[in-house]
């Protein structure tokens, strides 16, 4: 990278030979053009660089180049105790903080064989689904904006505010919630929670219908999405796509159904499927998913009213004692001191847990060597895996369609690079 003496802009002095095998032979003869899109480009949803080989406006090949938002979160977590590193997970996929926390906590709970009380499990489901709606709203707003439906963005962000208010009320922060802890929740749900969620349940269905209409009855939008970015069911499976990108092609795979976690098996909901595997179907699937999430939340709220038990496990090896106990019991003080000075020492072992995040399978691999810090934490993030299919999706489409295609696989670069 050098600077252009006249404009002082950074110039990439790459050698085209580096791209050998990635682009077609035409690029070397000058028949096609290599163009850099991003990393600072509004339609790449973060800092994603896409190297395009173009013939006129047609995309011949496209190479996603990731790593511009690398935060080193996984490595950083190895230097913190298990409980301390929960704060890092919130900062990975910033549209799905509760989901990231959930998968990390589930992995810890599996490793420690820690029980989670029913109330906490249901609350986790409700909050994870609220987060899913939150994430889908942002995707809908931005995705619509990419394809010329500019008004959806303001509407989606207005609705998202209601959800962020709920997260703030529950956890004390709008986005970096750190609310799920190993063995349950940080604190019990506040009393106002029920009313706030009821408000969401009352108002959102009509709003989702409206947005559905605004998008699907917009002729420009329909023309720009139907038949664009096609991927067949076999290819989608072969590329390891998950989430709406997979279900848009008609493959019925949802981890909430296939490998239920956190009591999802006790909830009734459908898995919306697309038929054509194009950008349009992926949009439809996500809109339908928001409706299903509302169904799950409704059931969860009914069950929370009955389930008044504890919100956190009382296994004192891993869970600090509540404050009220500290004044009474010496044992509690010792546990408190021990947990917060050196952390806990889990058994040795490796676990892998996955959940259905808003973007697809979000997995957490956790390896422990028996010390208070995790030996290795790795996240299998849907954005990274789904992005690998970009070339397949974008081939032989117009460059303007690429924007919609990137939007339709719903990537978050913080999730991709972590």
């Amino acid at each position: 990278m050098t600077a252009d003496p006249q404009t002082h802009h950074a110039v990439w002095e790459g050698n085209i030979e580096e791209l050998k095998g990635l682009v077609s032979e035409k690029a070397f003869t000058g028949e096609s053009m290599i163009l850099n899109m991003g990393p600072q480009h509004p339609s790449t949803h973060g800092v994603l660089r896409v190297i395009l080989e173009l013939e006129g406006e047609e995309v011949l090949s496209c190479i996603p180049d990731v790593g511009f938002l690398h935060t080193g979160i996984e490595k950083n977590m190895e230097y913190k105790t298990y409980e301390k590193s929960i704060v890092m997970t919130d900062r990975m996929d910033y549209l799905n903080p509760m989901g990231n926390g959930l998968v990390y906590c589930l992995a810890m709970e599996k490793l420690f064989e820690l029980d989670v009380p029913m109330r906490a499990q249901i609350a986790r489901v409700v909050l994870a689904e609220l987060t899913r709606i939150n994430s889908h709203l942002v995707w809908m707003g931005i995705g619509g904006l990419d394809l010329g439906v500019t008004s959806t963005m303001t509407y989606a962000f207005r609705e998202r505010e209601v959800l962020l208010d709920i997260f703030e009320m529950v956890s004390g922060q709008r986005m970096m919630s750190t609310y799920f802890r190993p063995g349950g929740l940080w604190r019990d749900l506040p009393d106002e929670f029920e009313g706030a969620v009821q408000n969401v349940l009352d108002t959102f269905p009509a709003k989702i219908d409206d947005y559905d209409k605004i998008i699907t009855q917009n002729p420009v939008f329909v023309d720009r999405t139907q038949g664009i970015g096609f991927i067949s069911a076999e290819d989608a499976v072969a590329y390891g796509l998950t989430g709406a990108a997979l279900r848009g092609s008609g493959v019925n795979w949802d981890i909430r159904k296939a490998m239920p976690y956190s009591s999802y098996e006790q909830f009734e909901f459908d898995v919306p499927l697309g038929q054509h595997g194009d950008v349009y179907d992926r949009f439809i699937v996500r809109i339908a998913e928001m409706r299903q999430s509302l169904r799950i939340i409704e059931q969860g709220m009914k069950r929370l009213q009955k389930e008044k038990g504890p919100f956190r496990s009382d296994n004192r090896k891993y869970v600090p004692p509540p404050r009220a106990e500290l004044g009474r019991s010496m044992e509690a003080v010792i546990h408190h001191f021990k947990l917060w000075t050196e952390g806990f020492r889990p058994p040795k072992g490796e676990v892998y847990v996955s959940i259905e995040g808003p973007r697809g399978e979000l997995g957490c691999f956790l390896a422990s060597d028996g010390s208070p810090n995790p030996m290795r934490v790795h996240f299998r993030t849907p954005s990274f895996v789904n992005l690998s299919a970009l070339e397949k999706l974008a081939k032989n489409h117009m460059i303007a369609d690429l924007v919609g295609i990137i939007g339709s696989i719903d990537i978050v670069l913080g999730d991709c690079d972590r």
Partner: protein
């Protein structure tokens, strides 16, 4: 009919109340759990350093003025703090609190982000450099 959905929506929106607020004249009340600016009081602090040890961002330091009489000063780096609230949970003596009211923390100078809490004469001694600046607890400095 099809093409009018957005127009209808726009027409309806004309008669709705604005979704945005006239901040700062108008503000929503904050929830009681909001994790805002951190405050520390020296009363009751035993210098156990549980707060600083478990802080994921190394944002709080407890500086010892006098160990036998249990006198401490807290140096709080608001720019490092991620407002996770862990230190508040850890302190057994409720020396630390997070104010739900104070959340407008922007400042023009970096100095504003290093906050000293404690009795005024003690803080002065720390600032003048009479007390060793390395706290026993802080691994970062």
């Amino acid at each position: 009919m099809k093409r009018h959905t957005l127009l209808q929506y726009a027409a309806r929106s004309l008669f709705r109340r604005a979704a945005t607020q006239r901040y700062p004249a108008e503000r929503t009340p904050t929830p009681e759990r909001l994790r805002g600016t951190l405050h520390w009081t020296p009363d009751g602090c035993t210098g156990c350093c549980l707060c600083s040890k478990e802080c994921p961002a190394n944002a709080i330091e407890i500086i010892t003025i006098d160990k036998t009489t249990k006198q401490f000063v807290a140096r709080y780096h608001a720019d490092r703090c991620i407002y996770c609230g862990q230190c508040v949970v850890n302190c057994r003596f409720s020396c630390l609190t997070m104010s739900p009211e104070e959340w407008e923390n922007a400042a023009l100078h970096k100095q504003a982000f290093t906050v000293y809490y404690g009795d005024a004469p003690h803080v002065e001694r720390v600032l003048e450099g009479f007390v060793s600046q390395d706290s026993a607890s802080n691994p970062s400095t």
